[in-house]
């Protein structure tokens, strides 16, 4: 298969030169254009108040098994079709639990826990997963490349991947096929000045009063007062992620 070393060397040089020029042209030309496009992406949301830590207190003693008022409200608010398949996005779900030793049961709404030390933010290669100054953990839909590493890293199964093209999106909740998403604590409402998330509002309106939303950092707030007075736990507290969602009664 080989010719004389000299000829082989000359052939190699010529081939390498041509290959290098070709690769450089193919890689650089669109790259220069794409870098411009990437840099033109909108800047991150500004204006979140670092003095605030938004959070939820969920009182499972008031949460009825099978009641899905909060889940329905969440999905309606954010323009998600009612999920039926494992590929459908679920930003919130009800988990029915039973303690193995005692048989004690509880019904627990689970969503993004808005950790102070979020593993999804740590692992995200592009910084698309980020935590706002007010503690809300979000995904920048312009920067998410859909690698799903955050879903591998989340201990709460709180994130969903958009598996197919979307229709009927809400303008205030942009979503995108091929991106990862999850509970935003209704950030669009908060940024408009509304005081409640859709889940908390629905739960209160239905008279259950199991979900309380507010600023955990404000000692005068209802949520801070209740967290002070009631025994509450964080899910997977052993991981020390300091979630912004607390549970009473489990």
């Amino acid at each position: 298969m080989s010719d004389s070393p000299k000829r082989a060397d000359g052939g190699r040089r010529a081939w390498l030169g041509a290959a290098a020029a070709g690769v450089a042209g193919v890689v650089l030309a669109p790259g220069v254009r794409l870098i411009e496009v990437a840099r033109a992406a909108p800047a991150k949301t500004a204006g979140a108040d670092p003095a605030v830590r938004w959070g939820l207190l969920i009182d499972t003693t008031k949460c009825a098994p099978g009641c899905e008022d909060c889940v329905r409200a969440c999905h309606a608010e954010n323009g998600l079709a009612p999920p039926t398949r494992p590929t459908d996005a679920r930003w919130m779900r009800k988990v029915e639990i039973k303690e193995m030793k005692t048989g004690r049961q509880a019904s627990v709404p689970v969503m993004c826990q808005h950790c102070a030390e979020p593993p999804c933010v740590d692992v995200c290669p592009t910084g698309a997963s980020f935590k706002r100054a007010d503690g809300i953990v979000l995904v920048d839909r312009h920067r998410c490349i859909g690698c799903r590493y955050c879903m591998m890293a989340c201990p709460y199964k709180a994130r969903s991947f958009v598996h197919e093209p979307l229709a009927g999106q809400k303008p205030e909740v942009p979503r995108g096929k091929g991106c990862v998403e999850g509970c935003t604590l209704c950030v669009h409402r908060l940024d408009r000045g509304q005081a409640l998330t859709a889940c908390a509002e629905a739960c209160t309106r239905a008279g259950h009063g199991a979900i309380l939303f507010g600023d955990l950092n404000d000692p005068a707030s209802e949520i801070a007062r209740r967290v002070r007075e009631l025994q509450s736990t964080q899910l997977r507290a052993d991981l020390k992620l300091d979630p912004g969602v607390r549970y009473h009664g489990i």
Binding site: W15, R93, P119, V123, R143, C147
Partner: protein, 390 residues
């Protein structure tokens, strides 16, 4: 000599490699068009078959450089003529693996974002730098081997490659090692485990490619060299098996991991089957028996053993990646959990045709690059020993 038959065979191989690659690209296009809903992946199994293929190729890419390292860095003369082929295979496997990884992204067209925005706390972001850096150092290394004026730099370049690939495979292991959420991962042992596995998988791939090249050129590997390479692969398989055993034994010692280990090793259906039958028996014990037998193994036995190691690698990666996600997250320790989102249940996963085709397309791309490289750049190992077939 490039005979007419050799040229015809070359174009035939290019056509086969090109076709497989094109089918893989077509599958990726379908995935982009319709979304990942056409795959078997869902919100529980988020990484499926494409990751098995991609991680195999990336880990093997690092391991295939063994041969070059033993030649350049440790000065073993029998390995030196094989160093260029080992470098080429590294580049080809890296390209194939990255192709699969990138095309399995939800937004592959945004790959430029991954190159312009780095979260330096992310192991994935480190890996983006490690993979591109690996390709760069291997190119420099190949250059020092081919360009006579730079021959003196071959050893330092080989050393740089050796160090870089240790870091690269550490990085690949840590993609999983740093995941605290899931019981299958979160172990520092995964970094050395991936390094040792890379030795075995890379050498196995090298032996398969070398056997094919020698056969097509109607040449024969010197028996003594064949014996040495076979024994080396046998030792690498044994070392991998040892670290896998340690990984499972440490897990079995921790009570909180008992359920997960019972699932992977005994109760989990396809996963224990692939682990014991695929990885342990076919991918490790059988090739070790073939390679470390007191009577030196023949050509066919070495090739069979190398192919078994590759098959075992796929079995192990499937168990590790998919099995690790199939076991439910323990969000409520001490409780039985159930929900409409699969809480407390073992997730099911059935890979679909686009996933298989994308993965095979990556292998096709690696094959294509190797074929072209070997032909154009003349990578056939040139031993001084008599090698013609009798």
């Amino acid at each position: 000599m490039k005979t007419i038959a050799a040229t015809r065979n070359f174009w035939l191989l290019v056509a086969v490699g090109g076709l497989v690659t094109a089918v893989g690209l077509g599958a990726a296009h379908q995935m982009e068009l319709h979304g990942h809903v056409i795959t078997g992946m869902d919100n529980s199994i988020v990484w499926g078959l494409p990751h098995v293929f991609a991680i195999f190729m990336i880990v093997a890419a690092s391991g295939v450089l063994n041969v070059a390292s033993i030649g350049s860095v440790f000065g073993q003369p029998a390995y030196k003529p094989r160093a260029p082929l080992s470098g080429l295979l590294c580049l080809a496997l890296l390209a194939g693996g990255l192709m699969v990884l990138m095309l399995d992204l939800g937004r592959p067209e945004r790959v430029i974002v991954a190159a312009t925005h780095y979260n330096l706390k992310s192991v994935f972001a480190w890996n983006v730098l490690l993979y591109s850096g690996m390709a760069a150092v291997v190119v420099v290394y190949l250059w020092t081997m081919f360009e006579r004026r730079y021959k003196a730099w071959s050893r330092p370049a080989g050393m740089a490659v050796l160090l870089w690939r240790f870091v690269l495979t550490t990085g690949t292991g840590l993609i999983f090692g740093f995941l605290v959420a899931r019981q299958a991962y979160q172990s520092a042992l995964l970094a050395p485990l991936f390094i040792v596995m890379s030795f075995a998988w890379g050498l196995a791939v090298f032996l398969v490619v070398q056997a094919a090249m020698y056969r097509w050129n109607d040449r024969r590997l010197p028996p003594e060299l064949q014996h040495r390479l076979a024994r080396l692969l046998g030792i690498f398989i044994a070392a991998s098996l040892y670290l896998v055993a340690v990984y499972h034994l440490t897990n079995l010692y921790f009570e909180r991991q008992a359920g997960f280990e019972a699932f992977i090793l005994r109760d989990g259906g396809v996963f224990p089957l692939l682990f014991w039958g695929g990885y342990v028996l076919l991918g490790s014990v059988l090739p070790m028996a073939l390679l470390l037998h007191p009577r030196p193994p023949g050509e066919a036995a070495v090739l069979a053993a190398a192919l078994l190691v590759v098959a075992g690698a796929f079995a192990w990666l499937f168990v590790f990646i998919v099995g690790g996600q199939a076991y439910p997250l323990d969000i409520f320790p001490g409780h039985v959990a159930s929900s409409a989102f699969g809480d407390g249940q073992v997730a099911t996963y059935r890979p679909t045709a686009p996933e298989w085709l994308l993965g095979l397309g990556g292998l096709g791309a690696a094959f294509l690059l190797t074929t072209i490289g070997v032909r154009v750049l003349d990578f056939m190992p040139q031993d001084d020993l008599p090698t013609a077939r009798p």
